[in-house]
């Protein structure tokens, strides 16, 4: 392609003058494809914002990016007292950025804050539903009382529960905290411009963690929501790091000198949610034949490879094969338009209908491709592209007849991180099938792995047999960064920038 020459030349010509400067200053700039409006982890509805906040506010445990194992962070040790009580030993001698000491009170305060509905903590249910309350045992020991046995609890604690300083938070209030958060993390906020940039400097008082000490003096996060701009900026050396880029961006950046691209795993998946329960009003999705037809009509292989990346695989159950409990050995629907048309002919709407497929950010093209495929069935499918928060609101508000749902499971290696949200009668459940609900609900309360697997099999089999949703493909995370950055590719796809440094 002639035009691509420009891109290469463009990238090549801008020698990394800026980058050299960055390396000398021991700083990196992250071109974030999202806008961070607040640094309060309990006010933002964006996972990406939490990825940034993670540099300043710590969780109790940290997931080793290379192995995916939970490692000590603010908690140095933990044990199960019974399946619903987690006992945690806290690190001593840690101080918050403002100098106040970290104790068990801060953990209890944080949990209480989340649990107090007056505070409207985001993800209160999704992320913290499993926690009932926190109890202080002594200054450096706490117990988390859970609602029900939750085997994945420790893993989840590496992704959620950002500890806030009780005294400071109570003094300044949530809003001021969101603008100038005070945590124990390896970086502290220096300057925050909502929606535009966050600049963080090293917390020199940071303890020596299991992975070592932070190497970078400074991390800057710039919001660059436009893919092309992001590509241009990293090629020009103004930005050092891009996360979660699209396969198309990846293809373009592969030709750029001084930029390294890697593709990492992810426990994310995408599935096409269909309103089989009729929550958004009576609709053709309630007809099993229509769902079968759709399942056969979508060329998932092509979509996965083209729009997600070569390493993305088609899935048959709405879960990531890496997650515990993810049963992929279920009824499979091949791409077969003829068969799809047969189902369509048998359905209540043989002549087709109108359908809006809701999607946000990079799921947009997926939804558009699905819409394109569905037109073969005379379904007048249209992409209903929305802003992230709006999409989330409506998906969980039961308003979407059909939506492409990309679910990251918050990086948790257990189907429990997603199944309860979508298939146990909760806000995200458009299936409302008693068989599915019962088996998944039960599985979440059992500790025995074999028992759980059996129950999950029942549930996923039922999901597949009824074609309640159309599982699409596993997620892939593409990264691009300036050559010379020492960065550990995370198995879960979530970058931990404070661990990086320049070679």
């Amino acid at each position: 392609m002639k035009q691509s020459v420009y891109a290469v030349a463009f990238a090549a010509m801008l020698v990394s003058g800026v980058a050299v400067a960055q390396q000398q200053q021991n700083a990196i700039t992250w071109g974030l494809n999202s806008e961070v409006e607040t640094l309060d982890p309990y006010a933002t509805s964006k996972r990406t914002a939490q990825l940034v906040i993670r540099n300043m506010l710590e969780n109790l445990v940290v997931r080793d990016p290379a192995t995916g194992q939970a490692k000590p962070a603010l908690a140095t040790g933990w044990r199960w007292i019974d399946p619903t009580i987690l006992h945690l030993e806290l690190r001593r001698g840690v101080t918050f950025h403002d100098g106040s000491p970290f104790t068990a009170d801060d953990v209890v305060f944080t949990v209480d804050y989340i649990k107090d509905t007056a505070n409207n903590a985001t993800f209160a249910k999704a992320d913290y539903g499993f926690i009932k309350k926190a109890e202080k045992v002594d200054d450096f020991t706490v117990r988390l009382l859970l609602e029900q046995p939750t085997p994945s609890a420790v893993d989840q604690l590496s992704q959620v529960l950002f500890i806030m300083p009780k005294a400071t938070h109570q003094k300044v209030g949530a809003r001021a905290f969101g603008a100038q958060p005070v945590g124990t993390g390896p970086m502290k906020v220096e300057r925050f411009e909502a929606g535009r940039s966050i600049s963080m400097v090293r917390n020199d008082k940071y303890y020596t963690a299991a992975w070592g000490k932070p190497r970078l003096d400074r991390i800057t996060v710039l919001s660059i929501t436009d893919n092309q701009t992001a590509n241009a900026e990293i090629s020009a050396g103004k930005v050092d790091f891009l996360w979660n880029i699209t396969p198309d961006q990846l293809a373009q950046l592969k030709q750029a000198r001084n930029v390294e691209t890697v593709t990492g795993g992810s426990v994310a998946i995408s599935f096409l949610s269909l309103d089989a329960a009729g929550r958004a009003g009576a609709n053709p999705m309630q007809d099993k034949n229509v769902r079968m037809a759709i399942a056969h009509a979508v060329n998932r292989q092509a979509i996965a490879k083209t729009l997600r990346g070569e390493s993305s695989e088609v899935i048959h159950s709405p879960c990531n094969p890496r997650q515990f409990g993810c049963i992929q050995d279920v009824a499979k629907y091949d791409y077969n338009v003829a068969k799809a048309k047969e189902f369509m002919a048998k359905s209540s709407v043989p002549r087709g209908f109108e359908l809006k497929i809701a999607a946000f950010t990079d799921s947009g093209p997926v939804a558009e491709a699905i819409a394109g495929d569905l037109r073969q069935l005379n379904i007048d499918a249209k992409l209903d592209f929305r802003e992230t928060s709006a999409w989330i609101r409506d998906l969980f508000g039961g308003k979407l007849t059909s939506a492409v749902v990309p679910w990251p499971s918050n990086g948790v290696y257990d189907v429990v991180a997603m199944v309860p949200l979508f298939f146990t009668g909760d806000q995200g459940d458009y299936t409302l099938d008693p068989v599915v609900m019962d088996s998944f609900k039960k599985a979440a309360t059992i500790v025995d792995e074999q028992e759980r697997l059996k129950l999950y099999k029942v549930g996923f089999d039922r999901l597949a047999a009824e074609a309640y949703v159309l599982p699409l493909m596993s997620g892939v995370t593409h990264f691009a960064y300036r050559r010379g950055l020492d960065f550990v590719l995370p198995v879960d796809g979530y970058p931990i920038l404070y661990m990086a440094g320049w070679k």
Binding site: Y6, F10, Q228, A232, D248, A302, I303, A369, K382, F385
Partner: protein
């Protein structure tokens, strides 16, 4: 009016050269008219003329370059888009959407604006004050923002776009019609009709309306162009007409991710859009010069 005008010549009223003949002598009008006719024909005949189904997608043949490019082929004259759909066919079907939005929005806006303008210009006084306030309010409202907000809430779709654009683009109709009607209704023939006992309805329809029709047509052609631009801007931002419908604004939005490597994705839809709006503006200019000489719009 001065009582002592001596400007009126009493030479034989020269029969004005027919409007059509004057229009056809107006180069802008002719160029614009031919272009517009071309787009209308393409839009009407898109089903027959388009080489492919504009929705037929194939991810394997995505992003084929146009024919003039090194790897181009005559199968896909303007190449294919990121979903492997034929660009030319989408462009042609897109003309249909653009024209539908343009005409329907301008018609709705015209109905609202002309009604308000005629009422204000004819009745004056209180009616005029209230309507003028309404116009000022409308002008002060950032139309695009309001349109975006309404679309965000009301959802997507061609007719919603028409509704939103129609109810935001009426101001120029109202302003122009108000002034025109004020001018016309202060003329002696309106006075004569009143003196002859004609009702307001008869005066407005028989005496005033035929004389401000030209103004309406001129504004209509400008606002149709504005509607195309506004709809494209909405589509570009992802609101209004939704993929995979071949709206030009959407095509440009989609092409934006390929600006560096496939600039033609944006360029071609943009050129089509520009030509259509240009055609409408030229026709507007022509109509202005022919129907309402001496007026500024």
């Amino acid at each position: 009016m001065t009582e002592t005008q001596v400007t009126a010549t009493d030479s034989i009223g020269v029969r004005p050269v027919g409007l059509w003949r004057r229009a056809l002598r107006h180069p802008g009008f002719v160029v614009g008219g031919v272009l517009l006719l071309f787009f209308v024909l393409v839009a009407l005949g898109a089903d027959l003329l388009a080489p492919h189904d504009p929705y037929a997608q194939s991810l394997v043949r995505r992003l084929r370059p146009p024919v003039w490019s090194a790897n181009g082929s005559w199968t896909f004259i303007l190449g294919t888009d990121p979903f492997g759909r034929d660009y030319l066919s989408r462009l042609m079907h897109g003309a249909r959407i653009a024209l539908a939005v343009a005409f329907a929005s301008a018609l709705l806006a015209g109905a609202i604006g002309a009604t308000l303008g005629v009422l204000a210009g004819y009745f004056r006084g209180r009616v005029d004050q209230v309507i003028s306030l309404l116009i000022s309010t409308r002008l002060a409202l950032p139309a695009l923002l309001v349109a975006l907000a309404v679309l965000q809430v009301a959802g997507s779709g061609l007719w919603i776009v028409v509704l939103v654009l129609g109810s935001t683009l009426w101001d120029r109709f109202a302003v122009v019609m108000r002034t025109a009607v004020m001018q016309v209704s202060s003329l002696d023939y309106v006075m004569a009709a009143r003196a002859a006992g004609a009702s307001h309805g008869r005066i407005m329809t028989r005496e005033v309306a035929p004389n401000v029709l030209g103004h309406f047509l001129v504004v209509f052609s400008y606002e149709a162009g504005q509607a195309v631009l506004a709809a494209a801007a909405l589509s570009f931002l992802g609101l209004g007409i939704q993929a995979p419908q071949p709206s030009w604004g959407l095509m440009m939005a989609e092409g934006r991710s390929w600006l560096l490597v496939n600039p033609w994705l944006i360029a071609n839809a943009g050129v089509a859009l520009m030509l259509l709006v240009l055609a409408m503006n030229l026709v507007g200019d022509g109509l202005r010069d022919v129907l309402t000489p001496g007026e500024r719009f």
